[in-house]
């Protein structure tokens, strides 16, 4: 009996030690919209194949992703909020920031288009109409990258959205699209989430293409100076790889529901 226990214990210890043999995984904080786009499912296995580094993805809101970076809980951050990224680097929490691709935001709304924004070319005009008509607009309201972008757009149009028509949901993009669909409201979403949800919600794409709606993605290593115990080497490898030709090609050729989603920024 005692012998058996010894054997089992030995095996357990051996098994627990095997974990140490793997290269230390790279912890990456990113936004839910990035993960929902499915691009990471293509990029990360390719990265692992080449470098042997396993990437563990933690998908949260932009605010929390950057906070995890500030607290040194992750090694690398991939987000899309230019001003917040610049602040993050300026305050010394991040290094080696690279903008490596972009996609765009779109305005969606009820198929009946009560505010009549369908034929507007500029997003400013479209949002002005929504505000003037007091048509329901569901905002993320969660301080995410998308929410920050939406606030910038209202501000750029010199508008202050307020009132019962402006619904601050405080939820993720998918949930906000469902709410807009249920409440017959407008919303602003990233194209990736829109493509993933357009078959499931009762909404139509009503405004896109204005360059104000561009959405650049950045990748930032967590500062080794602030947090010496982070896996900076792997983070730097990730950043170099994602800027490389093969990775940029992967991004360019990625299709979601048959449509291109991201445009690489570093392809020569």
């Amino acid at each position: 009996m005692l012998k058996k226990i010894r054997i089992v214990t030995a095996l357990l210890i051996l098994w627990s030690l095997t974990g140490l043999l793997h290269a230390a995984p790279l912890k990456m904080a990113t936004t839910t919209s990035t993960q929902n786009s499915g691009l990471l499912d293509l990029l990360l296995p390719a990265f692992q194949k080449q470098t042997g580094i396993e990437v563990q993805v933690i998908a949260v809101g932009t605010g929390k992703a950057l906070k995890m970076g500030r607290d040194g809980d992750v090694d690398v951050v991939m987000v899309h909020a230019v001003a917040a990224e610049e602040k993050f680097v300026a305050e010394g929490y991040g290094t080696d920031r690279v903008q490596f691709m972009y996609n765009d935001f779109v305005i969606v709304g009820p198929k009946s288009d009560p505010a009549g924004i369908k034929d507007e070319k500029s997003v400013t005009a479209a949002m002005t109409k929504i505000l003037e008509q007091q048509a329901k607009f569901v905002s993320r309201g969660d301080d995410s990258g998308t929410h920050k972008k939406e606030k910038t757009l209202w501000k750029a149009a010199n508008l202050t959205p307020a009132g019962s028509w402006y619904i601050e949901a405080g939820q993720g993009m998918g949930k906000v699209l469902q709410m807009a669909s249920e409440l017959d409201g407008y919303s602003m979403t990233d194209r990736g989430t829109w493509l993933a949800y357009k078959g499931k919600v009762d909404l139509a794409l009503l405004n896109a293409g204005d360059e104000k709606l561009s959405n650049p993605y950045g990748i930032i290593a967590v500062s080794k100076a602030k947090h010496p115990d982070t896996n900076y080497t792997a983070a730097k490898q990730m950043i170099d790889w994602i800027s490389s030709e093969p990775a940029q090609q992967l991004i360019k050729n990625y299709r979601l529901h048959g449509e291109p989603l991201f445009i690489p920024l570093l392809l020569k």
């Binding site: 809101g61 607290d71 309201g141 619904i167 601050e168 249920e182």
Partner: protein, 233 residues
């Protein structure tokens, strides 16, 4: 990493400086959960009474069903009601989704089985002779019922407190049915979920502390009531 104590300190500041956004959220939480409890309690206690005092076919099965319903995750209740209330769902015409009424409905569904199960356990231990004596003495069934409920009041209050505890702290169904809309359906638990996702831990902890204070207050109050009950016997 901001320390827990720093976040707690900021939390206390937010609470006592009368931060209006914070107090709005607290107000919504209370008004929704109290209404849900008020709507659910009478029927739940009546159901528990029927289960405890009358035998009819399927009674044991019903008791088991209510006990099982205690372990239904809030998010499943939320999802089921969501499907029913959605525009495409059977009750879509009511246009209740993402309103306080939908949250109340969800919370009623959540606390009902708990109220029935706990009230049933309490009423089971009351003396059946009190009921029979009251009836023999010419009391109407309603009057006799009130006598029984008065006998069992401490256990019933305990059931109400437990039911309130379950719904004031649940996030799954409120998030799905209310939608976490600012100044309308954002309550304490959904706000905590939101603040956490934003990385604003101080606000999250402040709200968590409100919940804890409330639970403490309720339990002290209950302890007082029960203590007096013991003395008077």
């Amino acid at each position: 990493m901001e320390t827990l104590s720093a976040a707690s300190y900021q939390a206390l500041y937010l609470l006592f400086s009368g931060d209006s956004a914070l107090w709005t959220i607290i107000g919504i939480s209370f008004s929704v959960s109290v209404r849900a409890l008020i709507y659910a309690a009478p029927l739940a206690i009546l159901t528990a009474f029927l289960l405890a005092y009358f035998s009819f076919p399927g009674r044991r099965l019903l008791v088991s069903i209510f006990n099982t319903a205690l372990s239904i995750p809030a998010v499943v209740v939320g999802l089921t009601l969501y499907i029913m209330l959605s525009k495409a769902g059977p009750l879509g015409e009511w246009r209740l989704l993402f309103t306080q009424d939908a949250m109340i409905l969800g919370q009623i569904c959540l606390c009902f089985p708990l109220l029935v199960a706990m009230a049933h356990a309490t009423l089971q231990s009351t003396d059946r002779r009190a009921w029979e004596t009251a009836l023999t003495l010419g009391a109407s069934p309603v009057r006799a019922l009130l006598t029984i409920l008065h006998e069992a009041r401490f256990g019933l209050i305990g059931a109400l407190v437990a039911g309130f505890g379950r719904i004031i702290a649940e996030v799954g169904s409120s998030m799905m049915l209310g939608g976490n809309i600012l100044n309308y359906t954002r309550n304490i638990p959904t706000a905590i979920a939101l603040e956490t996702s934003k990385g604003s831990f101080a606000e999250g902890i402040a709200l968590g502390m409100v919940l804890l204070f409330m639970a403490l207050f309720l339990n002290i109050a209950l302890g007082q009531v029960q203590g007096k009950g013991a003395v008077s016997q």
